[in-house]
Structures are given as C-alpha cells and as structure tokens.
Amino acid sequence: MNDVIDRHVKSVFATPAVAFVVLMMIFPIAYTLYLSLHDWYGSTTSPPTFVGVDNYVRIFSNDPRFWDALGRTLLFTGLAVSIQTVLGVAIAVLLHRQFAGRGLVRSLMLLPMIATPVAVALVWRLLFQPELGLLNDMLMAVGLSPSAWVADSSIALFCLVLVDVWEWTSLITLVTLSGLVALPTEPMEAAVVDGASAWQRFWLITLPMVRPVIVIAVVFRLIEALKTFDPIIVITQGGPGFATETLNIYIYNTAFQYQQLGYASALLLVFFAIVFTLAAVTLSFRRGKASS
C-alpha cells in the first residue's frame, strides 16, 4: 500500500484538487450545456426534451427581453466601472501622500466593501424609498423637489450605478494604492530634477507605471459588475417594469420564476461567453501596452 502511494505520490497529492475541479466546475458547466440543448421545466415526472440549438436560436432571433437586458448590463457595467476607476485612482493618489491619520482614513475607505452586500442593499432601499426615505428628506431640506429614485424607470438604473460606485470604488483604490507603494522612486526624483510639473509627473510617469495594476483592478470590477445580483434583486427586483432587469436578473427570473431551466441554461452560457470575451479584451489591452 505504502509502495503504491510512494510511487504515485504526485498523482495522490493532486487527486483531491482534480476531483474538486471536476465536481465543482466541469460537471456544472457540462450539465448546463446539456440542459441548454433541452426544454425542461423542472418536472419530477418527465425528463428534459432534446430540442437541439432551438434555445440559442430563440435568444438571437426571438427574445427582445434578452437584448434589452444585455444593453442594460453593458450600460450599468460601463458607467459603474468607469466612474469607479476615475474616482478610485484619484483617491488612491490622494491617500498615497503623507498626512496625519492616513492609516485611519485608509481603513475607513474600505468599509463599504467589507459590509455584507445584502445588508448594504437593504439600507439603500430604505434610503431610496420615496415616501419615507432619507434621500428625499435631504432633497426637500435644501428646497429641491423629491424624486421617485428607484421607482422611476428613467433613473432607476443610475441609482443602482450609484450604489455600486459607493460600494466598490474602494477596491480600485486599494489595488492602485498597493501599486503606487511598490513604485521605484528614482524616475520620480529624476523628473523633479528635470523640472516636471506635478501634473506632468502624474500623467507621464505615475499613471503609466501603475497602469498594469489598475487594469487588473478594472478587470476584477468588470467581471463582478457584469454579474451584479444582490443589490438589484434587493433594491428593485429588476423593476419598475423591466427598467433594471440586467442579464443576471433575467436569467434568474427565467430559471426560478418561469421554470424554463433549459432556456435559462442557454442564456447562462451566452452570458458566460460575453463576460469571458470582455475580460479577455480588457486583459489583452494590458499586455499590449506593457510590451510596447
């Protein structure tokens, strides 16, 4: 017995990890692929019916809700991630300077990110409440007219962007800050000697040097923002109407409200392809710049 283990020690040590990957990643993906080629409503009495690529044909030819949801997902992600990146980098540069209480401020910055997402979303839901919420009280206190916030189709999605920015800007800050700390000081000193202005030093030296780090942070945020679920399901459930129904919410509804498990699987795989492509494109941007 011991001989066997000794001889195959590499595979013995690798087995648990391999088994985990197969069980927790490959099987679910394979099963989702299988379901996506079937019609199944979750019946305990009748098995899934094979329909070939019908589900995929329906996504691309006969499902306006999918395209609307895709548009909203991209808009939400694009807005949220770009605002977070600009704010996050700016805050990181600020926090990189020496000032009293810097450690405390840095820790405080992280609070929104550490809080439980569902709890945070519930608080925002109360803040947005048009009749009882704090935000309208604040608007009226300064003499402005109240807003319906997330109950108004035309701005609901932007309210959710606000929540996402509030919650996740500090992630970009955190990652950028660690990049800034690791920068060599020599180029900066040389630039000061050469008489570069503060703006030039930031734009031409600091930013290009931390860019690879920022891109990593952006990719993380991009993937997470595309998949945003908790705040939307808690604050608006995709409403009013379908005004905040992103792809993830649509897929969730399709699977768990409408019971169309086969179609939801097809949607999931298409969604996966979209996330994968966007992440790959963003990352290639980093590599291209870094090697040039």
Partner: protein, 442 residues
C-alpha cells in the same frame, strides 16, 4: 487571465446546475411506510403519531394563525410539525428550487391554484388528494368537504385531481378611512369616476394620499383585473389569446395608471401589497384597493394605527359592469413527501369546519367554508362587501399555463401607464408578448 476566467466560470455555472444536481439524482418513489390511500380501520387522529412533517408557507395571516395553534394539532395527533415561512417572493423561489430538486423535505406547502396549478400539475408537483379524501379510515366523518361549495372545489380540481384544499379566500376589497371621507364630505365611491373625484379632493391638500393600489410589475396584475372586466375587456379570448389590447382594455390600463400617477403614493411603480399595507396601517392612505386577506393586518390594533378608522366596500364599478374579482390560497401535499398520511391529517385539521371558523372569528382570516360564521366584532361592512363580492366574482388571473411569465408581460404595460408613457403601444406590446409566451409553452 486563466485564474480570473476559471473563477468566473465557476461562479456563473455553479448557480443553476448545483441546484439541479440533486434533482438529476433524486428518486421518484414517494412511498412512505404505508400507502395512506389504502389505510383501513376506524378514523383515528393518532394514526400517524410520532411522525414529523414540514410545512412550507409564505408569511401571511393564515400561516401566523396556524402557527399559534400548532400545539393543539401536535397534541391531537402526536405528529410534530415544523412550519417555516418566508415573504411571498422568496417563498415561491425556494419552493421551486426544492420541488425541482425532487426534495423529500417538504410535506405540505402553500399554493395559489390560480397562479400555480396549471404549471404544477404539468410538472407533477401535487399529490392527488382524492384517494385520501374518499378513504373513510383517513378522513374524519365530520370533515364535510361539500361545505366548501362547488365553485371553490372546482377551482382546486385539475384533470380530475384534487390538487389542494382552500385555506384562504380573498376578493379585491375597497378599504377606506371613514374619518377622511367625512372630513372632505365625500360619499363612498360606487364607480371609478366617483373614485377619481374623491381621490382628487383628498389629494389636493397633500395631507393624506388619496388613492393607492399595487403598481409593481407582476403584483399589480391581480388588481387590474376588475378594471379590465368593468371597462369591458378580458385577459384572454376563447382560444387563450390575449384579449386585453382592445380599446376598452387600453382605457382600463390608462385609467389604472392615471389614478395612481395623479393621486397615488410616490413611487407607485415599485409598490406591492407589503409596502401599501405599511402605508395604510400608518394612516397615510385614505382609499386603497387590495385583496381582502389584508383585513386581518388592518384591523389588528397592535400593528395598525387605523384599526378603528377603517371601513370596507366592494370595488367601485366601471362603465361596463361591476364584476368583482377573487384570489385564493390553498395547501397541497408534495408527491415526494414520505409522510403523506400525516400531511393529510394536517390539511384536514387546518381546513376543518371548526378551524376555519375559529380562524375567521379569532384572526380575521377568511376561509372558504360556507358554514363558517364571522366574529361579532368583524365590521359589518367587511362581511357585506366580502360576501356580495364573492357571489359575483371572477378570477384575478388569466387561465394559462405560464402565469408568472404573462403576469410580467402585462405588468410592464401597467408600469408604463403609471409613468405616463404611451399606454396603447405598451398594451399592444404586452399582448404580443403574451401570445408569444403562451404559444411557446402550450
């Protein structure tokens, strides 16, 4: 690169299939120790003593009242009951996940036949109750099933199967605060036009909200039913196709949305009954239409500041009629249950003539039994409004299989109307969606 994408893969892909994993491997034989339908001998409440059942429900007054009385059942039968309840939306979602996975954990569950039955029957999620009902060894001689009335029994019957037993019967009811109507010298509105002018008068001051009803996508659909019927429109025609996109239907949608936009609470498009109940209990709403099941929470002085300032009426009539609408909750047994006999005893106890009357009298939870009396202190106006409405009521939902999906499609048009958009276009889009959905799934 590789690590981030594998991570994404895992998170994305795990959600759905993981839930289904057990379903694929689950077994389908729901047989317990004995097949309860074949039980013999005298009827005995103690027959299944020592067993344990799990009852899953949404949080609503019926479940609260039953939860308080569970010790009585446990003493009567020796059966232990674990009752768990979640808010409606979460309850529905968890039920679907558990049923899809073929879980044996749920024995009894709350269900709304109008919303669920066509789909659930197709999926095999209901145990047919007829064999147990007709077995004298299992059903108490005092049960008096016929007391539910033919119409109600029919609404629980699909393809000859008795899928559930009614627990709560609701009609749409017009709730109002008499003190507010008096303050503005207003009569109780009998028509939608009168409702509109009353709401306008009350809202003008801005002290209380004149009028409220649901505006949230799917939730609002049950409440617009009376508007549709009373403006001369229908959800569906004889062929099961959308029929609400007629000029009458568009007018119903238009009126429903206009009333809420002009006189309703801010943010109506996100309001379901939970939000409105809270506002009404706080005395912020003068007139409110919702289902009669809210009566228990409205009349409870511990949670409602308007408990002694509320009266009830049938829903005001429209230009083409004064139909009223109903909705019902029931309890059903899962075919995967290992304790069907014990579950049946629970259903029987919870819907027995004594219990239905007790809940009606002590908790203002109205069940479906014709023999059941109301409490002496139940407002006369509620009993009148409820009984006269029930007598001429129609379903709050269209009779199609994919009800949740078509509710979302119709609800979208309601939201557009509340927000003052192009109602005619929205209604015709909703009708197209409706037909597309129904056609794809029949």
């Amino acid at each position: 690169m590789t690590s981030t994408t594998t991570r994404t893969t895992r998170i994305l892909a795990i959600l759905l299939p993981a839930a289904l994993l057990t379903g694929a491997c689950g077994s389908n034989d729901g047989a317990g120790q004995e097949n309860p339908a074949e039980a013999t001998g005298e009827f005995d409440w103690q027959r299944y003593s020592g067993t344990e059942i799990r009852v899953s429900s949404l949080q609503f007054p019926w479940q609260e009242a039953i939860a308080e009385r569970l010790p009585e059942f446990e003493e009567l039968t020796g059966i232990t009951v674990a009752l768990d309840a979640l808010p409606e939306e979460q309850f529905r979602q968890r039920l679907q996940v558990e049923m899809t996975s073929g879980s044996e954990d749920i024995d009894v569950f709350a269900t709304s036949p109008q919303n669920d039955a066509a789909r659930f029957v197709q999926l095999g999620w209901y145990e047919d109750l007829n064999p147990m009902l007709s077995n004298e060894s299992l059903t108490s001689p005092d049960y008096d099933f016929a007391d539910f009335g033919e119409g109600l029994i029919e609404s629980q019957t699909y393809d000859g199967q008795l899928v559930s037993l009614p627990t709560v019967v609701e009609t749409q009811i017009f709730f109002y605060r008499p003190s507010v109507l008096e303050q503005y010298d207003l009569e109780v509105p009998g028509t939608i036009d009168e409702l509109e002018s009353a709401a306008a008068t009350i809202s003008e001051d801005g002290e209380v909200i004149g009028w409220a009803t649901r505006g949230k996508r799917a939730a609002a659909v049950t409440q617009i039913a009376s508007f549709l019927y009373n403006y001369g429109a229908e959800f569906i025609d004889e062929d099961g196709q959308a029929a609400f996109d007629t000029p009458e239907g568009v007018e119903a949608f238009q009126t429903y949305g206009d009333l809420l936009r002009e006189y309703g609470p801010a943010g109506s498009a996100n309001n379901s009954w939970e939000e409105l109940l809270a506002l009404f209990q706080q005395g912020q709403i003068a007139m409110w239409a919702d289902n009669s099941g809210q009566v228990a929470s409205v009349l409870d002085p511990e949670v409602s500041s308007v408990a002694d300032d509320v009266e009830f009426a049938p829903m005001p009539a429209g230009p083409a009629g004064d139909a009223q609408t109903f909705f019902g909750w029931s309890a059903a047994i899962s075919p995967e249950s290992q304790e069907k006999g014990a579950s049946w005893l629970f259903l029987q106890w919870a819907t027995s003539p004594e219990m239905v009357e007790e809940l009606q009298v002590e908790a203002d939870v109205v069940g479906g039994r014709e023999s059941a009396e109301f409490a002496d202190d139940t407002p006369e106006s509620f009993i009148d409004a409820f009984q006269s409405s029930l007598a001429r009521s129609r379903s709050q939902l269209p009779a199609v299989i994919p009800v949740p999906e078509v509710r979302d499609a119709i609800g979208q048009a309601i939201v557009v109307s509340i927000e003052g958009g192009d109602v005619e276009a929205a209604v015709s889009t909703a009708a197209e969606e409706f037909n597309r959905i129904v056609q794809a799934q029949q």
